[in-house]
Protein backbone atom coordinates (compact mmCIF):
# COMPACT_ATOMS: atom_id res chain seq x y z
CA UNK A 1 0.00 0.00 0.00
CA UNK A 2 1.34 3.39 -0.91
CA UNK A 3 0.09 6.72 0.23
CA UNK A 4 -0.29 9.31 -2.46
CA UNK A 5 0.72 12.66 -0.99
CA UNK A 6 -0.32 16.20 -1.80
CA UNK A 7 2.54 17.10 -4.11
CA UNK A 8 4.64 20.21 -3.89
CA UNK A 9 4.31 22.03 -7.18
CA UNK A 10 7.00 24.57 -6.56
CA UNK A 11 9.09 25.83 -3.74
CA UNK A 12 6.49 28.40 -2.83
CA UNK A 13 3.54 26.03 -2.48
CA UNK A 14 2.41 25.26 1.05
CA UNK A 15 -0.97 23.66 0.58
CA UNK A 16 -3.49 22.67 -2.05
CA UNK A 17 -7.21 21.97 -2.27
CA UNK A 18 -8.40 18.67 -3.68
CA UNK A 19 -11.04 19.74 -6.20
CA UNK A 20 -11.50 16.65 -8.35
CA UNK A 21 -11.25 12.92 -7.72
CA UNK A 22 -11.12 11.46 -11.21
CA UNK A 23 -10.78 7.81 -10.20
CA UNK A 24 -13.21 5.88 -8.05
CA UNK A 25 -12.03 3.58 -5.24
CA UNK A 26 -11.27 0.13 -6.62
CA UNK A 27 -10.44 1.42 -10.09
CA UNK A 28 -7.20 0.43 -11.74
CA UNK A 29 -4.62 3.16 -12.26
CA UNK A 30 -1.45 3.11 -14.23
CA UNK A 31 1.64 5.24 -14.10
CA UNK A 32 0.96 8.60 -15.74
CA UNK A 33 -2.82 8.51 -15.25
CA UNK A 34 -4.33 11.74 -14.05
CA UNK A 35 -6.19 10.83 -10.89
CA UNK A 36 -7.04 14.16 -9.31
CA UNK A 37 -7.02 17.90 -9.71
CA UNK A 38 -5.67 20.23 -7.08
CA UNK A 39 -6.37 23.93 -6.79
CA UNK A 40 -3.22 25.90 -6.05
CA UNK A 41 -2.15 29.50 -6.23
CA UNK A 42 -1.37 28.86 -9.86
CA UNK A 43 -4.76 27.45 -10.78
CA UNK A 44 -6.09 23.92 -11.17
CA UNK A 45 -3.33 21.38 -11.61
CA UNK A 46 -3.89 17.83 -12.79
CA UNK A 47 -2.07 15.30 -10.66
CA UNK A 48 -0.59 12.14 -12.12
CA UNK A 49 -0.03 8.85 -10.34
CA UNK A 50 3.48 7.41 -10.51
CA UNK A 51 2.83 3.68 -10.27
CA UNK A 52 0.51 0.98 -11.50
CA UNK A 53 -2.10 -0.40 -9.13
CA UNK A 54 -5.54 0.17 -7.76
CA UNK A 55 -6.91 3.20 -6.02
CA UNK A 56 -7.85 1.85 -2.63
CA UNK A 57 -9.52 4.88 -1.13
CA UNK A 58 -9.50 8.64 -0.96
CA UNK A 59 -8.21 10.01 2.32
CA UNK A 60 -9.20 13.62 1.80
CA UNK A 61 -12.73 14.74 0.94
CA UNK A 62 -13.33 16.97 -2.05
CA UNK A 63 -12.89 20.65 -1.40
CA UNK A 64 -10.48 20.12 1.48
CA UNK A 65 -7.34 22.20 1.71
CA UNK A 66 -4.40 20.25 3.09
CA UNK A 67 -0.69 20.99 3.53
CA UNK A 68 1.86 19.65 1.08
CA UNK A 69 2.84 16.12 2.08
CA UNK A 70 -0.57 15.13 3.44
CA UNK A 71 -1.67 11.66 2.22
CA UNK A 72 -4.64 12.18 -0.09
CA UNK A 73 -5.18 8.66 -1.41
CA UNK A 74 -4.07 5.09 -0.91
CA UNK A 75 -2.83 3.15 -3.90
CA UNK A 76 -2.61 -0.63 -3.79
CA UNK A 77 0.16 -1.98 -5.96
CA UNK A 78 -1.18 -4.33 -8.63
CA UNK A 79 1.19 -7.23 -8.15
CA UNK A 80 2.65 -6.81 -4.70
CA UNK A 81 -0.04 -5.71 -2.30
CA UNK A 82 0.99 -4.16 0.99
CA UNK A 83 4.63 -3.82 0.03
CA UNK A 84 5.71 -0.33 0.91
CA UNK A 85 6.96 1.57 -2.05
CA UNK A 86 10.69 2.11 -1.75
CA UNK A 87 10.95 5.42 -3.52
CA UNK A 88 8.55 8.19 -2.83
CA UNK A 89 7.77 9.64 -6.22
CA UNK A 90 6.15 12.78 -4.90
CA UNK A 91 8.54 15.68 -4.93
CA UNK A 92 9.45 17.31 -1.65
CA UNK A 93 6.96 15.99 0.87
CA UNK A 94 7.06 18.17 3.95
CA UNK A 95 8.99 17.00 6.98
CA UNK A 96 6.97 15.39 9.75
CA UNK A 97 5.53 18.57 11.21
CA UNK A 98 2.91 18.50 8.48
CA UNK A 99 -0.23 16.94 9.92
CA UNK A 100 -0.71 13.47 8.47
CA UNK A 101 -4.26 12.59 9.47
CA UNK A 102 -5.25 9.00 8.93
CA UNK A 103 -8.94 9.69 9.19
CA UNK A 104 -10.25 12.10 6.59
CA UNK A 105 -13.11 13.11 8.81
CA UNK A 106 -10.82 14.73 11.29
CA UNK A 107 -8.63 16.44 8.72
CA UNK A 108 -7.88 19.76 10.31
CA UNK A 109 -8.04 22.86 8.19
CA UNK A 110 -4.68 23.96 6.92
CA UNK A 111 -2.98 25.58 9.85
CA UNK A 112 -2.71 29.30 9.65
CA UNK A 113 0.92 29.45 10.45
CA UNK A 114 1.94 32.98 11.22
CA UNK A 115 5.49 32.06 10.27
CA UNK A 116 4.53 31.80 6.63
CA UNK A 117 5.17 35.48 6.23
CA UNK A 118 8.84 35.81 5.54
CA UNK A 119 10.53 37.76 8.28
CA UNK A 120 11.30 41.31 7.21
CA UNK A 121 14.96 40.48 6.88
CA UNK A 122 16.07 43.83 5.64
CA UNK A 123 14.03 45.83 8.11
CA UNK A 124 16.17 48.61 9.53
CA UNK A 125 16.98 48.07 13.16
CA UNK A 126 14.44 50.01 15.18
CA UNK A 127 15.27 51.52 18.52
CA UNK A 128 11.91 50.39 19.85
CA UNK A 129 10.45 47.15 18.59
CA UNK A 130 6.99 47.51 17.19
CA UNK A 131 4.44 45.07 18.63
CA UNK A 132 1.98 43.73 16.09
CA UNK A 133 -0.49 40.88 16.44
CA UNK A 134 0.10 37.99 14.02
CA UNK A 135 -3.29 38.57 12.36
CA UNK A 136 -2.53 42.23 11.80
CA UNK A 137 0.93 41.43 10.51
CA UNK A 138 -0.48 38.95 8.01
CA UNK A 139 -3.23 41.29 6.83
CA UNK A 140 -0.72 44.11 6.48
CA UNK A 141 1.57 41.92 4.40
CA UNK A 142 -1.29 40.87 2.15
CA UNK A 143 -2.57 44.39 1.71
CA UNK A 144 0.88 45.89 1.27
CA UNK A 145 0.54 48.14 4.34
CA UNK A 146 3.81 49.51 5.66
CA UNK A 147 3.70 48.79 9.39
CA UNK A 148 6.54 51.18 10.10
CA UNK A 149 4.16 54.04 9.32
CA UNK A 150 1.90 53.04 12.20
CA UNK A 151 4.15 54.02 15.07
CA UNK A 152 5.22 51.94 18.02
CA UNK A 153 2.76 52.91 20.74
CA UNK A 154 0.74 50.01 22.09
CA UNK A 155 0.05 46.74 20.27
CA UNK A 156 -1.06 47.07 16.69
CA UNK A 157 -4.07 44.84 16.01
CA UNK A 158 -6.36 44.38 13.02
CA UNK A 159 -8.44 47.42 13.99
CA UNK A 160 -5.41 49.66 13.86
CA UNK A 161 -4.69 48.94 10.22
CA UNK A 162 -5.78 51.67 7.82
CA UNK A 163 -8.73 50.81 5.64
CA UNK A 164 -7.16 50.37 2.28
CA UNK A 165 -8.72 50.50 -1.13
CA UNK A 166 -5.95 48.45 -2.69
CA UNK A 167 -6.89 44.85 -3.20
CA UNK A 168 -4.64 42.27 -1.59
CA UNK A 169 -2.18 40.60 -3.90
CA UNK A 170 -3.81 37.87 -5.88
CA UNK A 171 -2.66 34.34 -5.22
CA UNK A 172 -1.00 34.35 -8.64
CA UNK A 173 0.87 37.56 -7.88
CA UNK A 174 2.00 36.14 -4.53
CA UNK A 175 3.27 33.00 -6.22
CA UNK A 176 5.25 35.03 -8.75
CA UNK A 177 6.57 37.30 -6.03
CA UNK A 178 7.73 34.34 -3.94
CA UNK A 179 9.53 32.64 -6.82
CA UNK A 180 11.14 35.80 -8.16
CA UNK A 181 12.19 37.04 -4.71
CA UNK A 182 13.82 33.69 -4.05
CA UNK A 183 15.59 33.91 -7.41
CA UNK A 184 16.95 37.39 -6.74
CA UNK A 185 17.95 36.38 -3.22
CA UNK A 186 19.68 33.11 -4.00
CA UNK A 187 20.86 33.11 -7.60
CA UNK A 188 23.92 35.14 -8.60
CA UNK A 189 22.72 36.03 -12.07
CA UNK A 190 24.92 37.12 -14.92
CA UNK A 191 23.54 38.47 -18.17
CA UNK A 192 24.63 38.33 -21.81
CA UNK A 193 22.95 39.63 -24.91
CA UNK A 194 23.38 39.58 -28.66
CA UNK A 195 21.45 40.21 -31.86
CA UNK A 196 19.94 37.27 -33.70
CA UNK A 197 19.12 37.51 -37.39
CA UNK A 198 15.70 35.92 -37.87
CA UNK A 199 15.29 36.62 -41.57
CA UNK A 200 15.82 33.00 -42.58
CA UNK A 201 13.77 31.63 -39.70
CA UNK A 202 10.79 33.86 -40.55
CA UNK A 203 11.06 33.01 -44.24
CA UNK A 204 11.18 29.32 -43.34
CA UNK A 205 7.99 29.63 -41.29
CA UNK A 206 6.20 31.61 -44.01
CA UNK A 207 7.24 29.11 -46.64
CA UNK A 208 6.27 26.16 -44.45
CA UNK A 209 2.83 27.63 -43.77
CA UNK A 210 1.96 28.69 -47.31
CA UNK A 211 -0.38 25.87 -48.23
CA UNK A 212 -1.21 24.62 -44.78
CA UNK A 213 -4.54 25.02 -43.00
CA UNK A 214 -4.35 27.23 -39.90
CA UNK A 215 -4.29 24.34 -37.44
CA UNK A 216 -1.13 22.95 -39.05
CA UNK A 217 0.81 26.22 -39.15
CA UNK A 218 4.03 26.85 -37.33
CA UNK A 219 4.81 29.82 -35.13
CA UNK A 220 8.39 31.01 -34.87
CA UNK A 221 8.23 30.31 -31.14
CA UNK A 222 8.48 26.60 -31.91
CA UNK A 223 11.80 27.28 -33.67
CA UNK A 224 13.06 29.20 -30.64
CA UNK A 225 12.25 26.27 -28.37
CA UNK A 226 13.91 23.78 -30.68
CA UNK A 227 17.02 25.95 -31.13
CA UNK A 228 17.44 26.05 -27.32
CA UNK A 229 16.73 22.34 -26.93
CA UNK A 230 19.45 21.53 -29.47
CA UNK A 231 21.98 23.95 -27.97
CA UNK A 232 21.82 22.51 -24.45
CA UNK A 233 23.14 19.18 -25.72
CA UNK A 234 26.58 20.82 -26.00
CA UNK A 235 26.05 23.12 -23.02
CA UNK A 236 24.54 20.90 -20.34
CA UNK A 237 25.39 23.35 -17.56
CA UNK A 238 22.41 25.48 -18.59
CA UNK A 239 19.85 22.69 -18.51
CA UNK A 240 18.91 21.32 -15.12
CA UNK A 241 18.23 22.32 -11.57
CA UNK A 242 20.29 23.62 -8.66
CA UNK A 243 19.27 21.84 -5.48
CA UNK A 244 20.97 21.06 -2.18
CA UNK A 245 24.01 23.15 -3.08
CA UNK A 246 24.71 21.34 -6.28
CA UNK A 247 23.74 21.42 -9.90
CA UNK A 248 22.00 18.42 -11.41
CA UNK A 249 22.07 18.58 -15.21
CA UNK A 250 19.07 17.03 -16.92
CA UNK A 251 19.64 14.57 -19.74
CA UNK A 252 16.63 15.96 -21.64
CA UNK A 253 15.62 19.55 -22.37
CA UNK A 254 12.24 20.34 -20.83
CA UNK A 255 11.84 23.91 -22.00
CA UNK A 256 9.61 26.09 -19.84
CA UNK A 257 7.57 28.55 -21.88
CA UNK A 258 6.68 31.79 -20.14
CA UNK A 259 3.00 32.23 -21.00
CA UNK A 260 1.12 35.28 -19.90
CA UNK A 261 -2.42 34.82 -18.70
CA UNK A 262 -5.40 36.99 -19.37
CA UNK A 263 -6.37 38.75 -16.20
CA UNK A 264 -2.77 38.96 -15.05
CA UNK A 265 0.14 36.80 -14.16
CA UNK A 266 2.23 34.31 -16.01
CA UNK A 267 3.27 30.71 -15.76
CA UNK A 268 6.15 28.85 -17.36
CA UNK A 269 5.10 25.23 -17.83
CA UNK A 270 7.49 22.73 -19.37
CA UNK A 271 7.35 21.46 -22.89
CA UNK A 272 8.87 18.06 -22.25
CA UNK A 273 11.60 16.56 -24.43
CA UNK A 274 11.72 19.61 -26.67
CA UNK A 275 14.41 17.94 -28.79
CA UNK A 276 12.10 15.07 -29.79
CA UNK A 277 9.94 14.83 -32.91
CA UNK A 278 9.83 17.23 -35.85
CA UNK A 279 8.82 20.89 -35.71
CA UNK A 280 5.20 20.09 -36.56
CA UNK A 281 5.04 17.73 -33.62
CA UNK A 282 6.65 20.32 -31.35
CA UNK A 283 4.17 22.95 -32.56
CA UNK A 284 1.23 20.63 -31.87
CA UNK A 285 2.45 20.11 -28.34
CA UNK A 286 3.04 23.84 -27.89
CA UNK A 287 -0.50 24.66 -29.03
CA UNK A 288 -1.93 22.06 -26.71
CA UNK A 289 0.09 23.39 -23.79
CA UNK A 290 -0.82 27.05 -24.36
CA UNK A 291 -4.47 26.12 -24.87
CA UNK A 292 -4.69 24.20 -21.64
CA UNK A 293 -2.74 26.79 -19.67
CA UNK A 294 -5.01 29.58 -20.87
CA UNK A 295 -7.97 27.48 -19.74
CA UNK A 296 -6.30 27.12 -16.37
CA UNK A 297 -5.56 23.41 -16.73
CA UNK A 298 -2.10 22.04 -16.73
CA UNK A 299 -0.40 19.02 -15.33
CA UNK A 300 1.71 18.79 -12.24
CA UNK A 301 4.75 17.59 -14.17
CA UNK A 302 4.50 20.59 -16.45
CA UNK A 303 4.80 22.92 -13.48
CA UNK A 304 7.74 21.19 -11.86
CA UNK A 305 9.82 19.67 -14.65
CA UNK A 306 11.17 22.62 -16.64
CA UNK A 307 14.96 22.57 -16.90
CA UNK A 308 15.43 25.91 -18.71
CA UNK A 309 12.99 28.70 -19.58
CA UNK A 310 12.26 30.72 -22.70
CA UNK A 311 10.52 34.06 -22.47
CA UNK A 312 9.66 35.42 -25.87
CA UNK A 313 7.95 38.75 -26.33
CA UNK A 314 6.17 37.81 -29.55
CA UNK A 315 5.52 40.20 -32.39
CA UNK A 316 3.95 43.05 -30.42
CA UNK A 317 6.46 43.52 -27.66
CA UNK A 318 9.59 45.59 -27.19
CA UNK A 319 13.22 45.21 -28.18
CA UNK A 320 14.55 43.11 -25.38
CA UNK A 321 13.89 41.28 -22.15
CA UNK A 322 16.39 40.25 -19.51
CA UNK A 323 14.87 37.36 -17.63
CA UNK A 324 14.86 36.38 -13.99
CA UNK A 325 15.80 32.73 -13.55
CA UNK A 326 12.96 30.56 -12.31
CA UNK A 327 14.39 28.57 -9.39
CA UNK A 328 15.61 25.87 -9.17
CA UNK A 329 16.55 26.27 -12.84
CA UNK A 330 19.83 27.93 -13.78
CA UNK A 331 19.14 29.76 -17.03
CA UNK A 332 16.51 31.74 -18.90
CA UNK A 333 16.61 32.88 -22.51
CA UNK A 334 14.80 36.07 -23.55
CA UNK A 335 13.94 36.91 -27.14
CA UNK A 336 12.62 40.37 -28.00
CA UNK A 337 10.24 41.39 -30.73
CA UNK A 338 11.75 40.97 -34.22
CA UNK A 339 12.24 44.25 -36.07
CA UNK A 340 13.61 45.48 -39.37
CA UNK A 341 17.19 46.68 -38.99
CA UNK A 342 19.80 47.99 -41.38
CA UNK A 343 22.60 45.44 -41.18
CA UNK A 344 25.99 45.44 -42.90
CA UNK A 345 26.60 42.21 -44.78
CA UNK A 346 29.55 41.69 -47.09
CA UNK A 347 30.10 45.43 -47.14
CA UNK A 348 26.52 46.28 -48.07
CA UNK A 349 23.75 47.68 -45.96
CA UNK A 350 20.79 45.34 -46.13
CA UNK A 351 17.42 45.18 -44.40
CA UNK A 352 17.20 42.20 -42.06
CA UNK A 353 14.74 41.01 -39.43
CA UNK A 354 16.59 40.93 -36.14
CA UNK A 355 15.81 40.46 -32.49
CA UNK A 356 17.69 40.90 -29.25
CA UNK A 357 18.42 37.62 -27.53
CA UNK A 358 19.55 37.48 -23.91
CA UNK A 359 20.75 34.88 -21.48
CA UNK A 360 20.44 35.18 -17.73
CA UNK A 361 22.36 32.35 -16.08
CA UNK A 362 23.48 31.17 -12.66
CA UNK A 363 27.08 31.99 -11.77
CA UNK A 364 27.20 29.10 -9.32
CA UNK A 365 27.06 26.79 -12.31
CA UNK A 366 28.55 28.59 -15.31
CA UNK A 367 30.52 31.61 -16.44
CA UNK A 368 30.10 34.22 -19.13
CA UNK A 369 32.55 32.50 -21.44
CA UNK A 370 30.42 29.36 -21.62
CA UNK A 371 27.28 31.45 -21.58
CA UNK A 372 28.44 33.29 -24.68
CA UNK A 373 29.10 29.98 -26.41
CA UNK A 374 25.64 28.78 -25.47
CA UNK A 375 23.98 31.94 -26.76
CA UNK A 376 25.96 31.72 -30.02
CA UNK A 377 24.89 28.10 -30.42
CA UNK A 378 21.22 29.09 -30.17
CA UNK A 379 21.75 31.92 -32.67
CA UNK A 380 23.57 29.59 -35.02
CA UNK A 381 20.74 27.04 -34.83
CA UNK A 382 18.27 29.74 -35.81
CA UNK A 383 20.32 30.52 -38.93
CA UNK A 384 19.62 27.00 -40.21
CA UNK A 385 15.89 26.63 -39.63
CA UNK A 386 15.64 23.72 -42.06
CA UNK A 387 17.81 21.64 -39.70
CA UNK A 388 15.58 22.23 -36.71
Amino acid sequence: MTQFLMPSLGADMEDGTLIEQLIAPGERVKRGDIIAAVETQKGAIEIEVFEDGFLDKWLVPLGTKVPVGTPIAEIRSSDMPDIPQPVDPVPQPLPPEAPQPADPDITPPAPEDPNVQPPPADEPPDEIRQRVTPAARRKAAQAGIDLSQLGTVGIISLDDLPQTQTAPLSAMRQAIAAAMSRSKREIPHYYLSDTVDLTEAEAFVTDHNTDLPPDARLLIGALFIRAIARAVAKFPEFNGVFKNDQFAPNPKPHVGMAINLRGGGLVAPALHDADDGDLDDLMTRLRDLVDRVRQGRFRARELTDATITLTSLGDRGVTGITGIIFPPQVAIIGIGTPQWQAVVRDGNVVARRTATITLAADHRVSDGHRGAGFLRAIISNLQKPETL
Binding site: P213, R217, L219, R287
Partner: protein, 81 residues
Protein backbone atom coordinates in the same frame (compact mmCIF):
# COMPACT_ATOMS: atom_id res chain seq x y z
CA UNK B 1 -23.07 35.48 -45.80
CA UNK B 2 -24.49 38.72 -44.42
CA UNK B 3 -22.44 41.14 -42.43
CA UNK B 4 -24.50 40.75 -39.22
CA UNK B 5 -23.99 36.97 -39.40
CA UNK B 6 -20.26 37.33 -39.88
CA UNK B 7 -20.08 39.94 -37.18
CA UNK B 8 -21.74 37.62 -34.73
CA UNK B 9 -19.40 34.75 -35.69
CA UNK B 10 -16.29 36.87 -35.19
CA UNK B 11 -17.58 38.17 -31.87
CA UNK B 12 -18.32 34.64 -30.68
CA UNK B 13 -14.82 33.41 -31.46
CA UNK B 14 -13.17 36.52 -30.09
CA UNK B 15 -15.18 35.99 -26.92
CA UNK B 16 -13.70 32.53 -26.48
CA UNK B 17 -10.17 33.92 -26.68
CA UNK B 18 -10.65 37.20 -24.84
CA UNK B 19 -13.78 36.70 -22.74
CA UNK B 20 -13.31 39.87 -20.71
CA UNK B 21 -13.24 42.16 -23.77
CA UNK B 22 -16.47 43.85 -24.83
CA UNK B 23 -16.10 43.90 -28.59
CA UNK B 24 -18.56 46.78 -28.83
CA UNK B 25 -16.11 49.02 -27.00
CA UNK B 26 -13.00 48.35 -29.08
CA UNK B 27 -11.80 50.55 -31.92
CA UNK B 28 -12.93 48.56 -34.96
CA UNK B 29 -10.28 50.17 -37.14
CA UNK B 30 -7.31 49.49 -34.85
CA UNK B 31 -5.18 46.35 -34.79
CA UNK B 32 -7.36 43.65 -33.30
CA UNK B 33 -4.40 42.11 -31.51
CA UNK B 34 -3.61 45.37 -29.74
CA UNK B 35 -7.24 46.14 -28.98
CA UNK B 36 -7.89 42.73 -27.44
CA UNK B 37 -4.34 42.02 -26.25
CA UNK B 38 -4.02 38.75 -28.11
CA UNK B 39 -0.71 37.20 -29.07
CA UNK B 40 0.33 35.22 -32.12
CA UNK B 41 -0.94 31.96 -30.61
CA UNK B 42 -4.35 33.50 -29.84
CA UNK B 43 -4.51 35.00 -33.33
CA UNK B 44 -3.71 31.63 -34.88
CA UNK B 45 -6.45 30.13 -32.75
CA UNK B 46 -8.92 32.76 -33.98
CA UNK B 47 -7.95 32.18 -37.61
CA UNK B 48 -8.26 28.42 -37.11
CA UNK B 49 -11.74 28.77 -35.62
CA UNK B 50 -13.00 31.18 -38.28
CA UNK B 51 -11.49 29.15 -41.13
CA UNK B 52 -13.07 26.00 -39.80
CA UNK B 53 -16.52 27.51 -39.27
CA UNK B 54 -16.61 29.32 -42.63
CA UNK B 55 -14.67 26.72 -44.63
CA UNK B 56 -12.06 29.27 -45.65
CA UNK B 57 -8.33 28.63 -46.05
CA UNK B 58 -7.40 31.92 -44.30
CA UNK B 59 -3.86 31.88 -45.75
CA UNK B 60 -1.08 33.48 -43.79
CA UNK B 61 -0.37 35.74 -46.76
CA UNK B 62 -3.76 37.38 -46.12
CA UNK B 63 -3.14 38.12 -42.44
CA UNK B 64 -2.48 41.77 -43.27
CA UNK B 65 -6.03 42.04 -44.58
CA UNK B 66 -7.40 40.83 -41.24
CA UNK B 67 -5.65 43.21 -38.89
CA UNK B 68 -8.58 45.23 -37.54
CA UNK B 69 -12.09 44.12 -36.64
CA UNK B 70 -13.50 45.97 -39.66
CA UNK B 71 -10.78 44.57 -41.96
CA UNK B 72 -11.59 41.09 -40.74
CA UNK B 73 -15.31 41.54 -41.40
CA UNK B 74 -14.65 42.95 -44.88
CA UNK B 75 -12.26 40.11 -45.66
CA UNK B 76 -14.69 37.42 -44.54
CA UNK B 77 -17.56 39.09 -46.38
CA UNK B 78 -15.52 39.17 -49.56
CA UNK B 79 -14.42 35.53 -49.26
CA UNK B 80 -17.84 34.15 -48.37
CA UNK B 81 -19.69 36.18 -51.03
Amino acid sequence: MTEPDLRSIVITHMGRIAPEIDIETIDPTADLRDECDIDSMDFLKLITALGSELSLPMPEADYDKMRSFNDMLAYLKDRTA
